[in-house]
Amino acid sequence: MSEPLHLAPRLEPRLAALLDSPAFLHPLVTALGSPLNLVLPDQIADNVRGFRDVYARHRLTGRVLFAHKANRSSALVRRLAATGPDAAVGIDVASLGELRHALGAGLTPDRIVATGPKDPDYLWLAARTGVTVAVDSPAELTALAALVERFGLPRVPVLPRLSGFTAPGTRVLTRRSRFGTPADDAGTLLDLVEKHRDGVEFTGVSYHLDTMALAEKAAALEGCLRVLDEARRRGLRPRAVDVGGGFGVDYLADGAQWERYTTELTRALLGRRAPLTWEGHGYGLRAENGTLRGSLGVYPAHRPVSGARYLDELLAQTAPSLGRPLATLLLENLYDLHTEPGRALTDQCGLTLARVLEVRVTEAGERLVRLAANARDIGLEDHGLLLDPVLVPGAPGGPGRDGPPVGAYLLGNLCLESDLISRRLVFLEHEPHPGDLLAFANTAGYFMDFTADHALHQPIARKVAVYRDGDGGAWNWCLDEQYWPHLTAGDDE
């Protein structure tokens, strides 16, 4: 085979140290089974600091709200609940279950924003506990106000979600969203806010755009500022803009690997080199008469401008019609900035381990590695994340241990043709053997438990929280639901 086309994961010190501890990892999988998810609660507290630094640089105040849907872990949420007041951390919940979980983890209502599609139960608990409600539509605002009146509840803070912003000059064909009130209908929304003054307290507006393009977000933020100005004109006292999430993660250590790989993938699809994917899968690209059609539908795994840096760049954007930097506009209009990072806040916060069950080489020379885990346990394919797992060898010795890197397709444990953990030919440091572990790094954001289920009575991964005393101390672990912040010796501040 030609030179291996590695896509090596980016590993920051804490995650790298954990991966470098095979004597700790192997017994864990022996005891708790494969697959196994590990989360690193102390890392999420560090990640908050990265966001706070950006706030400080722009002199902005406001909350960093963890988008809970990225991971169901209790340990991560409880750890966030334990951060100090300076961190101004909160949580963005999107279901009744997440709201209960957040309250039970010790997050007080002033630190919770309830978003997403809401059923009556969810809306009631949100209203009763007095969390901030990111109301999705005028109808939801009316329903909320009705609940408050009927049960004589205190006023509920609301942060209506807007969508469908327009910018001057050119028309951006922004993807349609199923959420939020169109910005053009904000007047109706404000009428309702005024009508239900006794039931709801208008604290600001929010948006969440599913795009990586900064210009679209700049237009949305400016649109929010205009709506808030109208609110002020009506005598309301808004204090915040919530810009949602979508800050992204840089999954790869080396941008050159990404450039090389995507070029070679193009060549492979055009038939100019050996295949790099299972059955010529193109991740959205296809060859037609020697021309490439479609577009590469994968996560841009190398993203140097992601997470807190992406926020920094967004704030530095100039508002399309007001003509000043967004950070300046927020500051001089006296607004708090709320952000809802999910994936970005769970960056480097976990990994998924799976045991190698079988290694087989087909007649065509393809190496197939079957794992005790499936594509729903490790959601790489769902999000188009192309990444090599890290080999954590079991017993020493065996053929190929000192050999060169090898390419392999990863098969799952479901009796299903489509159950490939990666359709990409991944590259391992050397020949794997049954009993070895493959570690999928950085899976805490969306790749860990978002789609896992009990199909075919296969087990769902257990989740454990791992932590260590000080930087060089021994690794400790407990089941995720057993983790409480007092276990961690480390301190944030």
Binding site: T170, R171, V172, D229, T291, L322, R324
Partner: protein, 444 residues
Amino acid sequence: MRYEHITDAIGDTPLVRVDPEVHGLRHIDLYAKLEMLNPFGSVKDRAAWRMAQPHLADAARHGRTVVELSSGNTAKALAVIAGMHGLPFRSVTNRMKVPEIKDLLLLLGAEIEELPGQAECLDPTATEDPLTRIHRMLTEDDGRYLHTDQYYNPANAEAHASGTGPEIIKDLGGTAPDWFVACVGTAGSSTGTARALRAHDPATRVVGLVARKGDFVPGIRDTDEVHEVGLFDPETYDTLESVSADEAIDGMLTLVRRCGILGGPTGGAAYFGAVRHLRERDAELAAAGDGRRGTAVFIVCDRVESYMSYVRQRRPELLRRPPRPNSPATLTPRELAAVHVIGVEEARAWIATERPVVVDLRGTFAFAALHIEGSVNIVDELFEELLHGGLPFGRSQPVLLVCPVGEQSVTYAALLTRMGHRNVRSLAGGVIAWRDAGAPMVRD
């Protein structure tokens, strides 16, 4: 020269020899084909006219909109052509990276639709990219649109096979050049010109230039993107080489500063790529020592003027300006520390007793929303501009400077003091502290 129609002025562009003193090739004559001198400003005038012209009358009769996926020169040429014939023009693009071109297109009456950025949450069921979808919409619904389809339309390449190529042969005294160097965007100009040159002399070698992967050179596809172009056929090129944005700007600098050719970065990339490729060939000719000379032609695609922001972003030092007087950047920590800073209570008392001019440095939008009663709004950037000229107040007129958090106000207070002002103070903590202290603010 007299023309009945401006479109008659498309083509027949000059072929200009580049001074060997500039490029340093001793055995090769290098010529620039000045496509920038086409009437609408670029090489794309040829293709745009060729693709649109046969369909214009029909489109006008049925009230069709001219549509193209373009972020630059093709859109520009089509906007003009559509406008001349009373047709609306719409440009759909995800590559609108040069703000001047965007503004120019709007000025020409074009409607621009920009494709959204990639989704952060990938939806694996959305198998089709927006570009393909729009492409399909246009081809299916041809009742409403005249889609010129520059990436697939053979007329794009034909415009050059019948125009650019033969012109080069004629201007070289009936011979084809030994080398033809062109940047690959839609592949129209390189494919068409190469076809004509090779038909005349199969020995002509064609050098295609693409942008280095992940780098942006206007009008050029990068190493991977080029495979998405229908007209692109790897067989056209004897070699494909890549050029970085930096190299394109270097080439452009040589053209504009040394050659009197006011070409843009695409032409700069072609010049840079041509000289780089030809240096070794030049050495081979020198080594052969038989006195044989070679000829090479590259295309200067468009003009430099639209790319100021492109240059400013990548090479700001090229647009240097002399330092201006009274600039905040020159303040010392000692000057900043010496500023008279007062808190909200003290400021309110001072306003009541001495009636200083209260200058609010925030933007007009924020000022209009809420401000300290009686204050004057001079936006920070305007204030800085004013100070370059001198003091905008009498030296002893009391002044209170106000900004969001009390940082800029300290800076400008220090600057005023340095300029000789005797009674300027800065509001500690700015408007935010004022609000948090519960002091009154008004809205007009």
